[in-house]
C-alpha cells in the first residue's frame, strides 16, 4: 500500500491527494475478509461525521460496516468496485479506494489515526 496512508484501528485508510482524500480499507482487511461479493457506497454529496458508517462491504461470510476516518463530504465513488466487488481481491487492480471526500476536519480528528508502519505493528 502507499506508505503515506493513515489508518484506523478498524482497518480503513485515508490518503490525501490534491486537496481531497481517498478512503478505502487496508490490504490486511481485504485479506481477512476473503472473497468480497458486495459493496454498498453512499451517494455523491452525502456528508458524514468522523467514525460514521458510510459503506458496507460483504464477504461470502458476513457484512462489515466501514467507518469514515474523518468527517467529510463524498465527492466521488468508485463505481468499478460497486459493479465488480471482486476487484478489491485482485492484487493487480490498483484503484482500491471506495470514495473520495473533501474535508474541513481539524487536527484533533487526525489524532487517533496511525501511519502505515504503526498500523502494521498494531495488527501483528
Amino acid at each position: 500500500m502507499n506508505e503515506n496512508i493513515l489508518c484506523t484501528k478498524t482497518h480503513e485508510y485515508l490518503l490525501e491527494n490534491n486537496g481531497q482524500y481517498e478512503v478505502g480499507i487496508t490490504d490486511y482487511a481485504i485479506e481477512q475478509l476473503g472473497d468480497i461479493v458486495f459493496i454498498e457506497l453512499p451517494e455523491v454529496g452525502t456528508a458524514f461525521s468522523k467514525n460514521e458508517v458510510f459503506a458496507t462491504i460483504e464477504s461470502v461470510k458476513a457484512a462489515s460496516e466501514i467507518y469514515l476516518p474523518i468527517s467529510g463530504e463524498v465527492v466521488e465513488i468508485n463505481e468499478e468496485v460497486v459493479d465488480s466487488p471482486e476487484l478489491l481481491n485482485d492484487d493487480s487492480y490498483n484503484k482500491k479506494w471506495l470514495v473520495k471526500i473533501t474535508s474541513t476536519a481539524d487536527q484533533l480528528e487526525f489524532s487517533d489515526l496511525l501511519d502505515y508502519s504503526d498500523y502494521k505493528e498494531e495488527i501483528e
Binding site: 476473503g34 472473497d35 461479493v37 458486495f38 461470502v60 461470510k61 457484512a63
Partner: protein
Amino acid sequence: MVKQTILHDEHIKLGAKMVDFAGWHMPVQYASIIEEHNNVRNNVGLFDVSHMGEIFVKGKDSLTLLNKLVPQDISKLIVSKAVYCQLTNLNGGIKDDWIIYKLEDDAYLIIANASMTEQDVNWVALNKGDLDVEIINESHNYSMIAIQGPKACDLITDLGITSIPDFFTIKKDVINNIEVFVSRTGYTGEDGVEIILKNRYAVEIWNLLLKKGQVYGVKPIGLGARDTLRLEASMPLYGNDLDESTTPIEAGLTWSVDKDKSVDYNGKSNILQHIQNGTERKLIGFRMIDKGIARHEYEVWHNNDKIGVVTSGGISPTRGDNIGLAYIKTLDNLSVGSTIQIKIRDKFYNAEIIKRPFIQKRNKK
C-alpha cells in the same frame, strides 16, 4: 478450551485461515471460498469434519431406544443403511439433527453435530431407563473426512475401494491396510462419500487423498464453502435453520418423518398435529430480486407487515444470485412465485419465494 481435530496441523500447513466454530479451531477457507465451492461442484473437494460427533449405540434394546428418540421409524432400517433423523424434545422441537447408520443387528452409529454431541449423549442416557443398551461416545477417538464432488468416487476408487456403497449406505473397507467406514453421504448436494476412521490414521489418509486426488483437481475445502454448498442444496444447518422451538414439520422436513410409525416417540402428538392441521409458520426458500445479500436474523416483510425471519442467507456461486431460507407466517396469498421483502440495514429489498433445493442435486445415484 478450543478443541483441535487430528488434522489441525495439516490445515495450517495448507495455509488455511482458521476460526473458532462450535468450540473447535477449524479451517474456514484455504484460499477462496468461491473457488473452493466451485471445485466441489466441478471436480472434488476434501473436508475435515472430524468435529462431528460419533455415538455408538449397542445392545438388544438399541432399536427400542432409538425409536423413542426420533420421528423416523428405525425398525425399517436394514443393516448397512442410513437415515436422516431429528432428535426431538417432548414438544417435537428439534434438539439436533442426525444421521443414524445401522451397522449390524443391535449396533448403530449416530453422527451428531459437534456442539450438540454432549447434550445428545446426556439426552439419550436420560431416555435409556432400564433398557439393555450401551451408549458409547467415541467422538474423541474418530475422525471423519468428506470427499465430495462429481469426481469423488473416481478418487476413492483409485485408493483401492473396490465397491462404492449405494446412496445412504455404509460399509467397512480397507485403504492402505487401514480399516475405515465408507458412507455414501454428504452435505453438499454432490455425489461423494464420508470416511470415518480411527484418529491415528487420519493424517495418512488425508494426505493420501490430496496426493492421489491431484489428477482430479482435488482441493481442501473449508467451512465457508461447506456452508454455501449446503445452502444451495437446501440442507438445514442446526442452530441456524433448526432449533428446539421448531418441529420437523415447520422446518419442511415432513418428507423425512414417518407418518405411520406405530410406536410412541418424543414429541409425537405435536408432530402428528402439525402434519394434520398444518403449522402457523413454515420454512421457505427465496432468491433476491434486488441487489442485496440476506443474512441470518434479517426480517422478512410482506405488505408492510413483518411476516418472518431469515435463518440462512448468502451468495449462490452456482446460480450466480443471492439466496436464503426463512421462516414465514403461513398465509394463503404467499407461495412459490410471491414477492416478499427482506429488510437489510433498514431498507427493503425484494425477493421471490422459489422452490427448494436451489440447485439440481446430484447425489442420488
